[in-house]
């Protein structure tokens, strides 16, 4: 089948247009945010985190009750009502206020421990990966030795030695918590430092500090953020676990772990609200950080880029 020549029209070639970039330039972080927004589960996690943070701040002030005020005369084990929204516990304390007070403690511990892990892990891993050779070998052997320890057993040992309380838990969790961060940062730095852009920067006269702060660490930001998000639920879970065993936050301060311990007797009685509310919000917190962290990992993983 022949097509007559006049049917063809020559496309004018314009040099400038061919070179121009039509789409707006999208930075890595904008791209990641766009992918994250499309991820239904991750966004739900984010909204849940915002809800929990807001409630942790305003929750304890929403009623006139406080977390330690007891009412042994007539306020014991009351069902949820207009007066006590989540009911009361065996000492007549308001479960609503105690639940959100517990949220404050959990979130404080989770976020603080994760930030301390971040600082120690990034510095340690960064030095180890950047120096390489002998230093790296020794530093990673130390990590290997600590890695072989059962994390919670070590934390428990530290709690035996120190005064129980929120501060102690944060210290105990961060002494062993930074290992994962250090390993990942070291791996990333090791991989990045042999790449051309680092050599280029060095050729242009960048010193070690500049290389670290401007080139290596920012390029590791993705995995660091993901680990940071996933460290928070681990720390929160550890605190609840320790408090459940009676090693964490001490009475009368409310923590989800201690509230759950105090209410495990409900298997014999019917005061379901005492177990349900702390258990529900603890699980919701862990769930939201896990969902958000997973979504963040998918959004930041360059291999997932389409």
């Amino acid at each position: 089948m022949a097509i007559p020549a006049e049917k063809f029209r020559r496309v004018e070639r314009r040099q400038t247009e061919a070179e121009s970039i039509r789409r707006p330039s999208v930075s890595f972080w904008q791209d990641a945010w766009r992918r994250l927004k499309k991820n239904w589960a991750a966004m739900m996690g984010l909204y849940m985190i915002i809800f929990l943070v807001v409630m942790a701040i305003i929750g304890p002030w929403m009623t006139e009750h406080n977390y330690y005020e007891t009412n042994l005369a007539e306020g014991k084990n009351l069902e949820p009502s207009g007066e006590h929204w989540f009911g009361t516990d065996e000492l007549g304390r308001d479960v609503f206020v105690r639940t959100w007070w517990g949220a404050r403690i959990s979130l404080t511990i989770g976020i603080t421990a994760a930030l301390i892990d971040l600082v120690i892990g990034v510095i340690y891993g960064g030095i180890s990966g950047y120096k390489g050779g002998r230093t790296d070998e020794i530093m990673m052997r130390i990590v290997d030795v600590l890695w072989g320890l059962p994390y919670l057993v070590l934390v428990i040992l530290l709690l035996v030695v120190m005064e129980p309380g929120v501060f102690t838990i944060i210290v105990a969790l961060s002494i062993t918590g930074w290992l994962n961060m250090a390993r990942v940062v070291r791996g990333q730095v090791l991989q990045l430092k042999s790449q051309e852009f680092v050599m280029a920067a060095r050729t242009l006269g960048a010193d070690t500090k500049r290389l670290m702060m401007k080139h290596l660490i920012p390029n590791t930001m993705g995995p660091i953020l993901v680990i940071l998000t996933l460290t928070i639920p681990t720390a929160i879970l550890s605190e609840a676990f320790l408090s459940f065993l009676g090693l964490g936050v001490q009475a009368p301060v409310a923590s989800w772990g201690t509230m759950i311990t105090d209410s495990t007797v409900v298997i014999l009685t019917d005061e379901w609200w005492r177990l349900f509310f702390p258990a529900f919000f603890l699980s919701m917190t862990l769930l939201s950080f896990n969902l958000f962290g997973d979504g963040l990992r998918d959004a930041l993983d360059p291999k997932m880029r389409k």
Partner: protein, 308 residues
Amino acid sequence: MSRYIGKRLVLMLVTLWVISTLTFVLMHSIPGDPFSSEKKLPKQTLENLKAKYHLDEPLPVQYVLYMKNLVMFDLGVSIKSETRTVNEYISDGFPVSAELGAYSMILALVLGIGMGVLAAFRQNKLADYNVMVLAVLGLSVPSFVIAPFFQKWFGGDWLPLMGWGDFKHAILPAVALSFLPLALVTRLMRSSMLEVMGQDYIRTARSKGLPPWRVITRHTLRNAIMPVVTIIGPLAVGILTGSFVIEHIFSIPGIGKYFVDSVLNRDYSLIMGITIFYSALLILVNFLVDLAYGLIDPRIKVGGKEAN
């Protein structure tokens, strides 16, 4: 290979030494001594007690003594019970904890691999979503939250609420204990299956006309199961620490319960003994897993230069 094993054994011993020294220092850095919290004892009794446990000696002497006994696998006497040795506690509690842990591990591996494979084959379909929801819940709902609800819902005549005896006593705690490991195995198995299913060699196997089940069993599963072997170590840690709360909730006389009790009673020799025992156990598990991994995956040369 033997050089690698030798190197690993040395590292294991060093780790164990670090741990036992660390525990010793930690336990002796506490102000006072194990008897200072006791009811007022006569001065002479107190001194006799201290002499009995060598607490009157200077710290370095105590350390050398402790290490000497440790090498002979003697972990000393429980300070609070006075008659039972730490070794007795461990030999009583370990079989119970090991049985419970083994059930949980098997449950997590078998169910987790099964669900992970199912989810991968039904990617983005209903079965996949269900499995993934279950896995995320397993990660988010702690075992000490699940356990009381289990007791409330299922506990009754034929599933005992607590205690330890025959197999039916193990069902509820084992299931509660396996939730977290199950979730981890499921997620890992699913992503590993998906990765393997996209590989060229699977396409090759299919295009040369192998029946689908053969592709799955001989090519996909065999490769996808590798990463699961590597997390057996972390799983063991999870089950071990999980046993602290589960044995506590279900009143099971295992080491986890002894450990928690010893911490709450400040029974220092028992705390030290169980910590060292746990560490040795985990170091051994990690070592065996690494060796097994080298045997299963011919691409990995154990002892070769680590690839980064």
